[in-house]
Amino acid sequence: MNVTIVDYNSGNISSVINSFKEVAKDKVNIEVTSDLNKIKSSDKVVLPGQGSFKSCVDALNDINGLVDTLNDFATSNKKPLLGICVGLQMFADIGYEETETKGLGWISGKVSKIDNKNGKYKLPHIGWNQINIVKDSKIFKDIENNSHMYFVHSYEFIPEDKSLISATTDYSSNIVCCVEKENIFGTQFHPEKSDKIGLKIIDNFINL
């Protein structure tokens, strides 16, 4: 099996690579590439993302044909895809970080700044927070409710269809931290930095 981590100059992805290689051992081949043919032929795709919504969308668009290839992979061919952090946020129709920017539109909704309640909550939301599992998801196999995951973000994804939310986390309000729509999965937290429990989520995705 081939799992491809999309390398589109979205910031630091070395931790994502290290964690997937650690989980995959020799059983699964982990590719790190922006090569369209390799992405097309892979069994699963990981879409990481750091920095702003706009910078990530711009970086995707800078690689000719990448957005189309990802669209085909995830929405036409319905092969498993995992978005991490801004990778998840880009599923939305629109994001408001820096300036209004169009997302991939795979899950209707928007990405807006977390309400810090007049400075009561510090932003970015950095650190370990518990996830509240609201719906069973294939990537939650052997993951207990209220497990701690590592978060770093100031913006949140607000999907229109609440039934696609599989977990939330409590920071100023119930922030969406996991979504699942058929073959498309997303985590707002960083499984690659969430210790053994995070690696389990990666393992679950690899073994889908």
Binding site: G11, N12, S14, S15, N18, S19, K21, E22, Q50, G51, S52, S55, N116, G119, K122, L123, P124, H125, I126, G127, W128, N129, Q130, H148, Y150, F151, V152, H153, S154, D170, Y171, E192, K193, S194, D195, K196, G198, L199
Partner: protein
């Protein structure tokens, strides 16, 4: 609920841990990778490396340390010491660091903070503020605490937030190494001034100091080096103690 973080810090010189944990089962007490693994297995929420290598020639050893650690430890890794340019930051992130802490360069050349937070995202840019009390104010020191800049630490903290820093690592130079506790007044002043998380550092001698840093200093995270060295306290003990005092921690 977001948990307060405990961050053990390892001082590394020429690729070796200077003051480390002295566990009996440790094969090589100077190996930073092995020490970091003990911390992460013990529940450290994050691990911080501070490179105190004086010469530039041995600089590459730290990249090797960061690279090897990131293949073994799956919690956030912060690296500080001698970070001068956007290129340095890029190199460290590519090696596997998750955050980079900038000290002297942030004072001398604040554009580094602005440029790097735009390029890599605020989440990986930590500005380290070394401050010393002078009268009613605190002044910023650079070059590992050797140079007094005369810059007001509180104002500088605000400026760094505006420049795009994702977090502030605040060290009291008066308290560092004394083991008498954090400079609570400094921590709480900076914490109330900015809307980004503050990591308290400098002066921890016992577990109550960690409690004070969070409860009184309003720090989001507490960093300590020596109390975890030589096995005085484990990270697990520290967390259980904080938990017993009603502080939310990841256990």
């Amino acid at each position: 609920m977001l948990k307060n973080r405990i961050i053990p810090c390892l001082d590394v010189k020429n690729g070796r841990v200077v003051k480390g944990i002295n566990f009996v089962d440790l094969k090589d007490a100077g190996d930073p990778v092995e020490q970091a693994k003990i911390y992460s297995d013990g529940g450290a929420d994050e691990i911080c490396f501070l490179d105190i290598t004086a010469s530039n020639e041995n600089r590459d050893t730290i990249y090797d340390v960061v690279g090897k650690t990131s293949k073994k430890c799956f919690v956030p890794l912060t690296f500080g010491g001698g970070v001068r340019s956007v290129d340095d930051i890029n190199k460290l992130l590519n090696c596997g660091a998750d955050k980079v802490s900038i000290n002297t360069a942030a004072v001398q050349n604040p554009e580094v903070v602005e440029e790097s937070s735009k390029k890599f995202g605020s989440q990986c840019i930590v500005v380290a503020i070394d401050a010393k009390k002078k009268g009613e104010k605190w002044e910023i020191f650079t070059h590992g605490g050797r140079n007094n800049t005369g810059i007001d630490a509180i104002e500088f903290a605000k400026k760094m937030e505006d420049s795009g820093a994702g977090e502030l690592l605040v060290t009291s130079m008066d308290r560092d190494g004394t083991q008498v506790g954090y400079d609570i007044e400094l921590m709480s002043k900076i914490s109330s001034m900015v809307n980004i998380p503050v990591i308290a550092s400098g002066g921890v001698g016992n577990l109550d100091h960690l409690v004070d840093g969070i409860k009184l200093g309003n720090a989001s995270a507490v960093l300590a080096a020596s109390i975890f060295h030589y096995g005085k306290h484990s990270v697990k003990e520290a967390k259980e103690y904080l938990d017993s005092k009603g502080i939310p921690v990841r256990i």
